[in-house]
Symmetry: C2
Subunit: 150 residues, 2 copies
DNA sequence: GTGTAAATGATATTAATTCTCAGTTAGGGT
DNA sequence: ACCCTAACTGAGAATTAATATCATTTACAC
């Protein structure tokens, strides 16, 4: 299932949220970015079209979108939180460029064999997994042969 | 390769670090825990044997241990950082109980096929991956059949 | 032992996020 | 089209996590 602006508006209303112009602007700011963005970056973008928005509203909007699973949190090691609009509602993971932050979705992580093995060996009931693969995108490889790790 | 206290002391010295009693206490606090611990928890434990230690020293010790790859960062979604003493120096991942925090190491994540496919399809040069599997350990399953997600 | 670079602890600072609360507003009901 | 009210917002304060500063102390090579 692919997400469109209309669908998102519907999802908000279904869950009893109001579709305010602020929320719409935050949504647009995240959706219009190919790479993951943190709250400060979202703020900068949103203020171009909605200069009076406060940080609290940005954070609250992000939280709402995260609660509805409309955004993913990416790059959990970094200091501030990075979010990415979900491009698909199905199970997927991210391939993240460690230099420019560009992300690509991928499916078929194929961990079910591994999870079965772990259940057998440890008795854990598996609930889920975090998987993120990082590397350098073709553009960054072409731009500088010597990587500049962040 | 398994890590022992002696080996760790040697690793510190090899890298030009001094083995101070504070560092030793931090090391012990992390190593003596089966589950992952955050800086505040480490502080509480360390102060039982070394009451005058300051938070700055805790953070510096953790950073040193992380730089030497002697501790792993676990559960990246939580607000504060959680660390776990490395029980093995080889490539491995963690199976974490979402209820009690107990962790089990596992190897053979077998992502090389996936990574090859992604390189072929996207042109990314893969540098590494984050993988963490979570579930409920046998003890927690036995204790309460209805999970209590955190 | 001595000297010195490294380490410590107290404190200040920075940065990210959350809280509070008075005023505003989306959107259902009329 | 206009109310009404619960939901929402923005400003600023508060909280929390982590890092920086700096005078004092200490591990350890000599």
């Amino acid at each position: 299932m692919r997400l469109t602006a209309n669908k998102i508006a519907g999802i908000l209303r279904q869950h009893g949220y109001r579709l305010t112009p602020q929320r719409h602007a935050v949504l647009k700011a995240i959706a219009s970015s190919q790479d993951c963005v943190n709250p400060a970056e979202i703020c900068t973008r949103v203020r171009q079209e909605y200069p009076t928005i406060g940080m609290a509203t940005i954070y609250r909007s992000i939280k709402m979108l995260a609660d509805l699973s409309l955004v993913c949190r990416v790059n959990p090691d970094s200091r501030s939180r990075n979010y990415l609009m979900r491009r698909s509602m199905s199970h997927h993971h991210h391939l993240v460029c460690s230099q420019c932050g560009r992300t690509i979705d991928f499916t078929h992580c194929d961990l079910s064999q591994l999870e079965k093995r772990l259940t057998r060996e440890t008795g854990f009931i598996i609930e889920g997994h975090i998987l993120e693969i990082y590397g350098r995108c073709p553009e960054c490889c072409a731009a500088s042969p010597v990587p500049n790790p962040r």
